[in-house]
Amino acid sequence: MPGKTSKQYKNGNQNIIHDYTQISASEPIPGTIEAVSARLGEIFSDCCDFITREISCGRNGQIKILVAYINGFVDKRVLNQDVIHPVLNFLSGTELHEGSCIYERLKKCVVINNDIKEAGDMQQAVEGILSGETLLFIDGESKALVIGVKDPRGRQVEEPDSETSIRGAREGFVENLLTNTTLIRKRIKNPNLKLEIMQLGKQTKTDVCICYIKGIANEKIVREVKERLRKIKTDAILDSGIIEQFISGTRLSLFPTVGNSEKCDKLAGKLLEGRVAILCDGSPYVLTVPFLFIESIQTPDDYYDHAYFATFMRLLRLMALMVSTLLPGMYVALVSFHHTVIPFKLMITLAASRQGIPFSPFIEAILMIIAFELLREAGIRMPRPVGQALSIVGAIVLGEASVAAGIASNLMVIIVAITAICSFVVPPLIRATMLLRFVFLAAANFFGFLGISFVSVVVLIHLCRLRSFGVPYMAPFSPLTLSDLKDSLIMVPIWAMLTRPKILRQENARGAKGSKRQELKTRP
């Protein structure tokens, strides 16, 4: 699949603009400071945030040094204290030096900062400058010092809005990649926690970090993730959502095969189960793969509370998932086809409430569901202070007035309300259920319960076909993995969870006694 994507991009994507600042792969750093300065000025022409400073030192000012960085990226106080000041001291206080000697000494004993790398050519130097490092060019040197004095300013670590929980850590990821990796490392103090970095996006050159625990994560999956990431050919990675779409492997599916989370403790848990995380600089949403169906009804709270409650909540969530997809369709099927199934007394009230309504149940349901989806969308898009007004409009106009005006029946309002509530219970599948609801509605309108069963079977076949990075989507139910059922719908207490999920680690599971042997395939 990813191969196909890249091909498509080669042919069709207009976004890839020509790279004007042509720096060939191994353009050497010019020998003199003047030349370096001129070349940098050419590359960074019309960039008001680009700053260079030339320092001349030594007895006759024959030792020249050029400092280059992007304004705003760099903590200037630290730069002055740790780099400029010692360098000036060193150069003015000593005898005349040979060039190479200056370079080595600057690197080894003058610059106070710890994060020092070398740039061997112009491309590396420019990339360093662009990612916020400070470059130190020395006259007559073909190498430059890359000094990391980044200003770590950014959003503070705070509780994520998108995922709230009652128990558990309140820390959420932020936009800064380094802060995020620190948050993970703080929870898993283990050198086996590997963080591999790569740059993606032709124009944006975004840092993307693959995170996994060596020895727990399946090597095949890690390799597959790297492979798929490497195949991404695009201009811009602005958010992890873009990566998600590129690597998901099932582009036509409604169901997500890549998970995302903003919560550190949740992510740590996923890593410890053997999943692979993908962090993207500039996005607080961290991706986890493989993502299975069962994960959408698991929450981090489950593990911090008593297993009885967790089991109950999970069953409730599954029920909510079904209700939110099926209920409007069921209602339409009952009213239009299967009157006999409805208990007689309810039938009377139902008939009474539907009296005088000009629309068929199907149209009525569609109208009300669309009205609700509009309300929801408006609630997300509009400025926060207006929210109150919207909820009043939604509650009074759509709830009360539509019934009074004879557009919808009382029962329909209840149905849509229950559907809406249920749909918020399982956030990862909210989009899938939203669309499936309409499909089920249509099926119910044409074929009643039979139509609903037909569509459910098709959805089930689709779910059974689906794989996330080679792992069957409906695991552990199908294929049935008995030991993994401990953390599925029914959750056993945490002290009884002795093994990690087998399905994620098939290479080990193969040798284990009584385990299932499954070929790890990556099917598009």
């Binding site: 069963s453 059974c464 409906m474």
Partner: protein, 362 residues
């Protein structure tokens, strides 16, 4: 293709779904009236034996499907001819089940809908399932088949209040012959039909489980059918029972204060669906092996279309279908289900006895 593997439990559930198939709406062995339970036990026991014959054939020819076995044991020409007959048989079986399904839906739920619409949509979905491969079919079975006994249990428990426990008496009122006849019917429908699974057995990941899996599924389905029979007869009585078309549906209508008619639909959808998909899969696989087409998926669409057409044109109405299934089907399927498999078993045993000697000589 051969790399696709299903686990023991998946095969068990597929077999169970296959055996339930249309039996869940038709109520087998009805010819014996209130002695049907005897017929079911007799037929069940014979069915278990018959299925063990299939298992033995598969075990004697490891990792070979029906077509390969036929060609190996009977020579290429004869083997191919018999294999083609088997393909016809699978297609016919699928079309019969499709017709059962269509009749049920069009009699009970949607009297005004043309049957071809119902059948065609159903077949379309099943082609999707079959094309997803045998692994997906197995996983689907894991999710869906447990629903059938569950629904049966719910219905049985709900009508436990409406009862006449003596309804199955007197025993053997008409002598032994109707019982034996019904038992024979029950062997051919559904047990003998599992001959289609000879195309699936090679996919099982652990060969040593095969015997137990097949045995358990046959026993389980017999027990469920007996429970269903007793439920129906104590609820309906033998007279009403022998006159009704879809007995389990009728008895589910008797649940006081509640109508769970659609649940029966679901049962049929699952059981029938698995039966038809297995048949289509078997036919497509067999045909692709005979013709040398690399991927059976290219043939499923055509075979399913043929099944739909056959199911519509095969019979004029539901009574014709039932009489045909009761009177002709057992004898029609006798060679496919019993004669040829027994011959195959014999040939396999002979070859097995010979082969060690032949091996040493060479």
């Amino acid at each position: 293709m051969e790399k696709e593997k299903i686990s023991g439990i998946q095969l068990f559930l597929l077999l169970l779904g296959f055996l339930f198939g249309s039996t869940v709406i038709l109520g087998p062995a009805m010819g014996a009236k209130n002695d049907a339970w005897l017929a079911i036990i007799l037929g069940g026991a014979t069915g278990v034996l018959l299925m063990q014959v299939y298992v033995a054939i598969s075990l004697l020819n490891p990792s070979k499907a029906l077509v390969d076995i036929l060609r190996e044991k009977m020579g290429k020409v004869a083997g191919n001819i018999i294999a083609i007959l088997y393909i016809w048989y699978f297609i016919h079986l699928a079309s019969l089940v499709l017709r059962d399904f269509g009749e049920f839906i069009c009699t009970v739920t949607f009297p005004e809908t043309p049957m071809v619409v119902v059948i065609a949509i159903f077949a379309f979905i099943l082609v999707y399932a079959v094309n997803s491969g045998i692994e997906v079919l197995g996983r689907l079975g894991e999710l869906l088949v447990p629903i059938i006994p569950l629904v049966t249990l719910i219905i049985s428990l709900s009508i436990i209040t409406v009862r006449d426990f003596t309804a199955f008496l007197p025993v053997l009122e008409n002598g032994m012959s109707p019982v034996l006849k019904a038992a024979f019917n029950f062997v051919t429908f559904p047990f003998g039909e599992t001959i289609a699974f000879l195309m699936l057995f090679p996919h099982l990941n652990k060969k040593d489980k095969l015997k137990n899996v097949v045995f358990l599924s046959a026993v389980t389905s017999t027990i469920v059918v007996i429970i269903v029979f007793f439920r129906d007869i104590i609820v309906l009585g033998s007279d009403l029972m022998s006159r009704s078309t879809f007995t389990p549906h009728l008895s589910s209508l008797l649940i006081p204060g509640l109508n769970i008619e659609p649940l029966i639909d679901i049962n049929l959808l699952i059981g029938g669906g698995i039966k038809i998909s297995v048949c289509i899969y078997a036919a497509a696989r067999a045909l692709s092996q005979i013709t040398g087409i690399d991927d059976y998926r290219k043939l499923t669409g055509a075979i399913a279309t043929f099944c739909v057409v056959l199911s519509i044109w095969g019979f004029g109405n539901v009574l014709e279908l039932f009489i045909w299934s009761e009177k002709v089907w057992p004898y029609y399927s006798f060679p496919f289900q019993i004669a040829i498999p027994l011959l195959l078993l014999l040939l396999s045993l002979i070859k097995k006895g010979k082969s060690p000697n032949a091996g040493t000589k060479k």
